[in-house]
């Protein structure tokens, strides 16, 4: 048998080797995003041969680049608001009042939501938006996103409300709180980690979705960043790496900030949520 201290040292070496490889694996693809936007002669490799901020100043002058970030923000914010608000109410109702077959219905909706986000449902979605005069409307995009995200949001939040002890609500009720007061004062604050999780999840989903705004929005002034990213081509028809990389960085910053905020505020973990 080996000397235990030797084994401990070996285990430690193994551990740190593994963690370094892990670090490399996850960091490697991101290096390009960190270097290329500042490169005067951008290529697909990772290097800063000549540092510049020129790429960003080009973007600032682009008529669609910055507004598209604002558009993305509107879509993501609107969707997150609707999704979290409606999902929280529905999840609470489903978790507290007995409705026959409620779990089956939820699972069915969850499965259906995978169809609607798929490409095959594009035509029905387009026609539906057309009939409702929601083409080229942000509200239309938000509603379509909300419809697709709600089942999973309800599912996640219901897990939070299901795990909330009943005695809090009962206690408030005995003190005379109305059902809506109970929801406002007790339930919503107590499932806040869940609300944060769902908000982040909804924002991130909308932020990166290309297909839905692409088919529902006509006016380039209303394009979100995900669509604008595909419009940067040089005159020769080649992808314009300078603009793409710089815009990718700008486009990524909000989600990084969101991550930093949430991880600072809530520690970015699942708080007893999604369990079972």
């Amino acid at each position: 048998m080996k000397d235990p201290t030797v084994r401990a040292v070996l285990a430690k070496i193994g551990r740190y080797t593994f963690l370094s490889v892990l670090l490399g694996f996850f960091a490697l693809p991101m290096l390009w995003l960190a270097s290329t936007p500042f490169n005067a002669h951008p290529t697909l490799d990772v290097s800063i041969s000549s540092f510049t901020l020129h790429n960003f100043s080009v973007l600032l002058k682009d008529p669609y680049a910055l507004p598209s970030l604002w558009n993305s923000l509107l879509l993501a914010g609107g969707t997150a608001l609707l999704t979290v608000g409606f999902a929280a109410a529905a999840a609470y109702a489903l978790s507290r009042v007995r409705i026959p077959g409620r779990n089956g219905i939820l699972y069915a909706l969850l499965l259906l939501s995978s169809i609607v986000t798929g490409t095959a449902a594009m035509v029905p979605l387009f026609e539906l938006a057309f009939k409702l005069h929601l083409i080229d409307s942000r509200v239309g995009v938000i509603l379509v996103f909300t419809g697709g995200l709600l089942p999973a949001a309800i599912f996640i939040l219901k897990d939070f409300t299901d795990n909330m002890p009943r005695s809090y609500e009962e206690s408030a009720r005995v003190f005379g709180a109305s059902p809506f007061q109970i929801m406002r004062h007790i339930v919503l604050p107590m499932i806040r980690p869940g609300l944060a999780t769902v908000t982040v999840w909804a924002v991130v989903n909308v932020w990166s979705n290309f297909l839905i705004p692409y088919i529902l929005i006509r006016n380039p002034d209303k394009y979100p960043a995900s669509v604008v990213l595909y419009t940067f081509y040089t005159e020769g028809g080649q992808p314009d790496l300078a603009l793409i990389s710089a815009f990718s960085l700008l486009y990524s910053i909000p989600v990084v900030l969101l991550y930093l905020f949430v991880s600072h505020r809530y520690g970015f973990r699942f708080h007893g949520g999604i369990k079972r």
Binding site: P165, S167, E170, S171, A172, R173, F175, G176, P189, M190
Partner: protein
């Protein structure tokens, strides 16, 4: 004037195998200002009764009156009751102050008045700081000890200025020592506020110590209702007899012969004044608390003769388990009277404390 009355109160929970009757035609009156304990083993329906009084459960049949009014259909929150749950249900996202103020906030009481009421309730319960202790008002429940949480829960209930307190085992989450302190505290608080109080517990000592009257429940029914003294001295049936008392009562099967009771080969005098009423050869159960024995190393007339099997130290006294012709009889002796192991002793039950049960009910 807040009397609580239930009439034929029944609560059935539907279940896989038919139904569970948690309350079975319960009729009960709790007087104004009374400290009333509901005592019984797990699952007997204590919590269900309390929740039905609070309006959290709707009875399957029967009625609840609080004060003069029929409140059977009154929603929870409109009954003027305050309830303290077993887990206290302190809202984890609110500070102690916000927790205590919550009943007032719900009623839309102005902020300044809320603060006053909180300070008053908190002072009553020792939650504000003194020279030597720090105040707890700005902490969140997770930063409080069990005993402190319990007091915050009480403060919140008193801040509601209810006409009835409902307590569901509020002491069961405390350790033994704290429990004693909290018990005294609770009793004093109830005396000062003079609010009708219903207190659920499965700890008979707690019920005896706190209550003005006790209802002992079993399977949704009340098996005995009385003051702690009555319930302790004269349990109405063998169920109550075995449930009440920190050392269980000896319940010994026997038969009546010649006006005396033949138990474990010994002839014991029946309780005073029952001798002539007993039918010859009737099967009875003799009840005698271990505390009410005279134990002697010398023969006594009409006593059990047994050998000491086990001696358990209770502190100031000893609990002996005697083998009396194959039947176990437990007696308590003072610490200085400890017999030798396997010694033969005579144990004479006190005639004025001996009870007799026939068919499970008290006959004398």
């Amino acid at each position: 004037m807040t009397q609580i009355r239930t009439a034929d109160l029944t609560k059935t929970f539907a279940d896989a195998g038919g139904g569970v009757t948690a309350l079975d035609a319960l009729t009960l009156t709790i007087e104004d200002g009374e400290f009333f304990a509901l005592l019984g083993p797990s699952g007997c329906g204590k919590t269900t009764l309390l929740r039905t009084l609070a309006g959290l459960e709707t009875p399957s049949s029967g009625a609840v009156y609080i004060g003069e009014a029929d409140m059977t259909r009154t929603p929870a929150g409109k009954r003027g009751v305050a309830m303290v749950f077993q887990d206290y249900a302190l809202f984890p996202h609110m500070t102690v102050t916000e927790n205590i103020a919550y009943p007032l906030r719900v009623r839309g009481v102005p902020k300044a008045q809320q603060r006053e009421a909180v300070l008053a309730a908190a002072a009553d319960l020792g939650l504000t700081g003194t020279d030597t202790t720090v105040g707890l008002l700005d902490r969140r429940p997770e930063a409080l000890s069990g005993g402190q949480q319990q007091r915050v829960a009480l403060a919140r209930a008193t801040a509601a200025k209810p006409s009835v307190f409902l307590f569901d085992e509020p002491l069961s989450n405390l350790d033994a020592r704290l429990r004693l302190e909290a018990r005294t505290f609770l009793k004093r608080l109830q005396r000062e506020l003079a609010v009708t109080t219903v207190f659920v517990t499965h700890d008979q000592a707690e019920a005896l110590a706190l209550a003005d009257r006790i209802a002992v429940m079993q399977s949704g029914r009340i098996r005995q209702l009385g003051t702690p003294r009555e319930v302790y001295r004269r349990p109405a049936n063998t169920f109550v007899a075995s449930f009440i008392g920190s050392t269980p009562m000896n319940l010994l099967e026997g038969v009546v012969r010649d006006g005396r009771v033949l138990v474990a080969d010994s002839e014991i005098a029946p309780p005073d004044g029952t001798g002539e009423r007993l039918a010859e050869r009737a099967a009875v159960v003799l009840g005698a608390r271990p505390e009410y024995f005279r134990v002697s190393p010398d023969p006594l007339d009409g006593a059990f003769r047994g050998t000491v099997e086990v001696a358990e130290n209770l502190g100031s006294s000893l609990l002996l388990t005697l083998d009396v012709s194959g039947t176990a009889v437990q007696v308590v002796v003072a610490e200085e009277d400890e017999p030798e192991p396997r010694a033969t002793v005579w144990a004479l039950p006190r005639a004025d404390r001996t009870l007799l049960y026939a068919d499970g009910e008290l006959v004398g």
